[in-house]
Amino acid sequence: MTLKDIALRNLRRRKAKAAFVLAGLLIAVSTAVALLGLIEAMNRDIQKKLEEYGANILILPKTENLSLTYGGLSLGGVSFEMQEIRQADLGRVKTIKNAANVAAMGPTVLGAVEVSDRKVLLAGVDFQAVKILKPWWKVGGTVPGDSDVLLGAEAARILNLNAGDHLKINGSNLQVSGILAPTGSQDDQLVFTPLSTAQSLLNKQGRVSMVEVAALCTACPIEAMVSQISKALPGTKVMAIQQVVQGRMETLSHFKKFSYGISMVLVLVGSLVVLVTMMGSVRERTGEIGIFRAMGFRRSHVIKIVLLEAGILSALAGIMGYLVGFGTTKAALPFFAGSNGMEVLFDPILAAGAFAVAMTMGLASSVYPALLAARIDPTDALRAL
């Protein structure tokens, strides 16, 4: 028989009160865990999306041109009658410190051509790199060979061309190998050919207009990579595409603040529930505490019993709260995020945090009831029995 045994037996005896304290702590902890887990999952999703988004670094020639909008992103200046990047120089990107973080590099040559009396933008790309850079591309037909073109959805509609049709660009006869499904970006209006074909058609051999780079950015320092590429390619302007996620990041930041606020309120309410229930429990046990004191229990022993009870319940609430919160996040994620790719991972820091918050809540709220119990006059307590 130890003080811990007394605390455990009392909890077992006063199941309803113990359950009430546990529920108060559990709701607060699990809600906080669920909200923070949700934020974490959404954060991870944004990071993942950023990777999936493909190009997150743009290499452009240094020019004085005006900016364009590309794919809904605000990009730097891209001009078609301007100085270009020498394709041979691009090998230097592989020598940068964070070269291992470069998942793909897609050089693109751009130039205006005439097709059926209409001016269109011809883009020569590396279709292998495009698979990584633009994973959302859906090609109806086949990826073009050296004498083929791929048409953007809008370009195909305006030029009235289908897969298998032929067209002439700068005197060369090319076949439409496929049509790109609508992307909602400027790609819909372009005519794509392999890089070497476009360079030949545009008479820009060995030169590219821009380079799109996909960097694995969850762990890599994107700003550092930008600086490293800038140094490797001095005549270029290197930019990180951040606008895409900035809006979502801001929204997430607001949601984060809101979640912290809600969690704080719940922690306060939970603490009050613990305080009130423990006070009630102490008052109910006045006689019992009198007996303990008569038998030689010090005030500190009485405090220890009350705090042990609170500690046991808090530890339970910490563990259960994390598990319930984790489950809630999993269940709620599709409703909040509407994304199938999002996943909830076990987060040891969040788990440890949940445990620490539950323990702090439970113990801090029980200090006053414990002191109250210790101050009970044993004579009065025994007289009340």
Partner: protein, 238 residues
Amino acid sequence: MSYIRAEKLTKQYGTGDAAVTAVGGMSFNIQMGEFVVVMGESGSGKSTLLTMMGALNSPTAGNYRVDGLEVYELGQDQRADFRREFLGFIFQSFHLIPYLTLLENVMLPLATVKMSSKKKRALAEDALLRVGLNGKSHRLPGQTSGGEQERVAIARAIVNEPPILFADEPSGNLDTKTTRVVMDLLQSLNEEGMTIVMVTHSPECAGYARRMLRISDGLLVEDVPLNGSRGGIQAIVC
């Protein structure tokens, strides 16, 4: 030298005109191994005196010494340690903890003592054996009779082998037959050397003691020796 020494022990409740004197300057000595009964009408101050002797209720004035120790000069923690080491309590309503088994109730005074669980269990089982309840140790108090509960209360009071036992109306809730069993038990403990101070209204119980302190209106009005053979009590029935 007296084992227990009370000097002008006083307890007053309230102040000014509303002050009530429960114990009004009582002085007495008790020797080690004595069996003393405290008698008096209801409200005479018996229980207040017992709580003061039990280091549970600070006197308004006076001194109280046990084994040379000035009890009320001790701090709260030291007084708790004194209770644990020197005193055993038997309450009128047994005051067992309802959610602990009989064995666990008996082990309660050992809960704060640094000792192996095995040793605590052995001591508690031994105490239960002494009161004749070794076969029912895993029952809850609610599953036992009043007499059995009283015996558990005695076992709990003696488990840490204190030199002094305070009993407040130990027969108050018991029938005659059970009272006799309990009193025989107290007498045997006294014969083994335990100092017993018992508050009672019952002349039959008082007959087991060897000395009687009679209290009236908070004052000690009589301090007489008894023969401790149960029979001589008729002379002092209230």
